[in-house]
Amino acid sequence: MTRIVVVDNHGQFTHLEGRALRDVGVEVAIVDNETPPADVDADGIVLSGGPDMDRTGNSTEYLEHGVPVFGICLGMQAMADALGGRVESGEYGGYADVTVDILDEADPLVGSLAPETRVWASHADEVVEVPEGFSRTAESDVCGVEAMSDPDRDLYGVQWHPEVAHTERGQEVFENFVALCE
């Protein structure tokens, strides 16, 4: 059975990420972000959201784990920051209801949501420059990088919260990610 490990960055919704993956039908474990990647056996990694970039522990070490990695909210920001992108405090925080435009229909993570999708967001900071090798795959009126992907390295991120009930097609994003891990 496909096994996905969620690295918990102290996010309020981390448990819901576990729940969403469980509902896709894979084996899920949630681990503290201080866990060394060497101790983790997984076919795919989710880096959860959380309150603070200084509390992401060993999260970014998982980028070298050799399996697909999916960063959510702070998880995506940590990914961008570690790989040479830029994260800044947004002019306008993104909370609750946001309409996201999908920029790349062929993207394996969010392409199936094209042309647009309604999501639930909760963030003050945002990625303003994606790292080399990544492309912007979604944007909105309040945030330029709503999603980013580097399919060659199998690294993906979304700024919104696909795990919460109010994101319209969040479950589909997890299904797409699981497909990348199988």
């Binding site: 309020q12 729940r19 309150p51 925080g93 909370y95 609750a96 919460v164 009930a165 109010h166």
Partner: protein
């Protein structure tokens, strides 16, 4: 989604193990979480469980009578009339966290009194998963978690539904055959109407919150909200029958949610909102205005405090 029938079997077994040959007490609020926890514990240990319902005076309209009816089948049910003691304890307290602590402590004291009488050594609680994360993230201390004083005399704490979400608890409630009233009932916070009153809790404000909540629940039934209520948020000027009124501001909130983790403010039609406004200001002479809260969660929480 949790498999309800497997869950019930496992939870009952776990409670039996945890409580052993001792006696246990459960705090019954009438909400679905504690009702399910009580039903599971009653199934596990029968009359060695004493369900205690404390009437804090912060309950919804008619709630205490409903509780007596629903839990009539548990012979060991105790109803404690503690309205006065809660109001006294809350007097002068305005900080929301302090309020929750005061209520939590008073709850425990009421239980301890009964616990000593029936010689219970375990406390059963209906804590659910989101209560724990909100406490861990320091967003709000929860009555079932952070408000628990250090001085509790109980040897064991049993939380049978601690890993479930609200929708899953409802699933379990249906499995247990609890009356639809309990299973489908809107969530009601443990600290009761106190968290629907911004600032000090007084008898007058409790009455305004209780009557307003009742109006909102009645008027919004057809919208099938996940949770709908009214809160007393401050004072403002109004004019009633040519007289200036410096009265309470009542905020109406009605949200859709699956699990309480995120919520969407409901879109209500103008006529409905006006009817709510007119009933509340008409019935309660000390209410000056009624507003509708359009904020989703996040950024707001569902309850006010």
């Amino acid at each position: 989604m949790v498999d309800a029938s497997t869950f019930v079997t496992e939870a009952v077994e776990e409670i039996r193990e945890q409580v052993g040959d001792d006696r246990a007490l459960i705090a019954l609020s009438g909400g679905v979480d504690s009702s399910v926890a009580a039903a599971l514990a009653y199934e596990a240990i029968g009359d060695r469980l004493t369900p205690v319902y404390v009437d804090t005076g912060l309950m919804r309209k008619g709630e205490t009578d409903q509780i007596r009816e629903t839990f009539d089948y548990m012979e060991s049910l105790r109803v404690v009339e503690a309205q006065g003691r809660f109001l006294d304890a809350l007097s002068g307290v305005t900080d929301p966290e302090e309020k929750r602590k005061v209520i939590g402590e008073q709850f425990i004291r009421e239980f301890e009194t009964v616990a000593t009488e029936v010689e219970a050594s375990c406390l059963v609680q209906g804590t659910i998963y989101p209560d724990r994360i909100e406490s861990e993230g320091n967003i709000k201390s929860h009555h079932n978690v952070g408000g628990l004083p250090d001085v509790v005399d109980f040897d064991g704490l049993v939380e049978p539904v601690r890993d479930l979400y609200k929708d899953e608890v409802r699933e379990v409630a249906r499995e247990l055959g609890l009356a639809d009233l309990v299973a489908e009932r809107m969530p009601f916070p443990g600290p009761g109407l106190a968290v629907r009153i911004v600032g000090e809790v007084t008898e007058e404000k409790v009455e305004v919150a209780r009557e307003s909540c009742h109006v909102v629940e009645e008027e919004l039934e057809e919208y099938d909200p996940w949770q709908a209520f009214a809160a007393v948020v401050g004072k403002a000027t109004g004019v009633k029958g040519d007289n200036r009124v410096h009265g309470w501001v009542v905020s109406v909130r009605s949200v859709e949610s699956r699990d309480g983790m995120t919520a969407r403010a409901q879109e209500l039609d103008w006529e409905t909102l006006q009817r709510i406004q007119s009933r509340i200001t008409g019935q309660l002479p000390n209410v000056a205005r009624v507003v509708y809260d359009v904020t989703h969660k996040p950024p707001a929480t569902i309850e006010y405090e």
